[in-house]
Symmetry: C2
Subunit: 188 residues, 2 copies
DNA sequence: ACATTTTCGCTACCGCAGTTTCGCAAGTAC
DNA sequence: GTACTTGCGAAACTGCGGTAGCGAAAATGT
């Protein structure tokens, strides 16, 4: 099944996604301008629209590619694992422009396809945290008797809350405090 | 000190803010169109810009007016108070279009003035929850020994996390579970 | 009365950004 | 080589925030 007409330039997709990634990082969803992306990729806007139906679809594809595997292997110290994970997530959020997170959340709420994409992106980390929380719970480290999913929300949710709503800083110390609140004080 | 020229139409401000509130409710920040607001208020766009310097400022004023006092008086049952508050916040969020919350968060991240305004809006509820958490802590109902501010984040943060990130529903039952996770299981 | 001052509404316009139209270039099939 | 198919870029279109300029209206002061 050989395609009939002029073949597509194979390099376009990669160049556009790379340019889009940089622009997204710089200015958030709204700050990502199709014009700039096309210019940086060295293609015309129309070429871009032939590959992706809209700006939203472009970002969907971009996020799908971002889904970097965060290889994580639990040790035998759930508290250590959990602190590491939550701290890493906090650092990741703190190191990303707030407008990007907020714009992405807004785009996710507006465009269902973006929502799917973004949720899939976070689902990976969510799964890792859930696993460790379950471990901790089996080891008897957790204070109450609550479903792991809820505890995960109480570990990660506050990070987003601070970032998007109250605007307070996300320090490593805050991450540790969150873990302590769920697991009880550290006995050392 | 009587002003010299033609006085301003006193009704304009109220009509514009009312129209803006409806439009904001319907379509979020981005869905609020200045043209539509002006039309619904029966005012020319220029008149609107004579009162507020930009769309952002208009929304700032709108949110400042929204800051409805939620009169809340703590009873002698902190668990009941807390459950009521968290459930009410969850219901409020669930009853508001997600795009509105997300757009507002994005606008807050982009425009500092909107950020101030939004944070002031949530600060009221935040204060109420903090007070009740402190009560519960004094009464010995709280499991660990963590600062009230952190516990508040762990009660409210998950609501925003579910709404904006994971997309899971905000049920009254979930709100109760959050409270139970912080206060320990209900003994009854 | 009349000049002055300020608001109002109207129309037209600018800039910007997402999206579409269209003519042409580049390739394949016969 | 000719017909057909597809990719491409330039320019135009569209919607929206924001501005400029104008004549008419509504107040104050003399």
């Amino acid at each position: 099944m050989v395609p009939r007409g002029r073949p597509r330039d194979a390099g376009v997709e990669g160049r556009v996604l790379a340019a889009a990634a940089e622009e997204l990082q710089r200015g958030g969803y709204d700050g990502l301008l199709i014009d700039r992306v096309a210019e940086r990729a060295g293609v015309a806007k129309t070429t871009l629209y032939r590959r992706w139906a809209s700006k939203a679809e472009l970002v969907v594809a971009l996020i799908a590619e971002m889904r970097s595997e965060v290889p994580f292997e639990p040790t035998d110290d759930p508290r250590r694992d959990l602190t590491g994970l939550v701290t890493a997530i906090a650092a990741g959020l703190a190191g990303t422009p707030t407008t990007l997170i907020a714009d992405l959340a807004a785009a996710a709420a507006r465009e269902p396809r973006v929502g799917e994409s973004v949720r899939a992106l976070w689902a990976d980390r969510h799964r890792a945290v859930t696993a460790v929380v379950a471990n901790a719970q089996e080891a008897g480290l957790v204070l109450g008797h609550v479903a792991p999913a809820v505890l995960v929300d109480q570990l990660v949710g506050p990070l987003y809350y601070r970032l998007l709503v109250t605007g307070e800083p996300l320090t490593p110390d805050y991450a540790r405090t969150l873990v302590s609140s769920v697991l009880g004080e550290e006995k050392s």
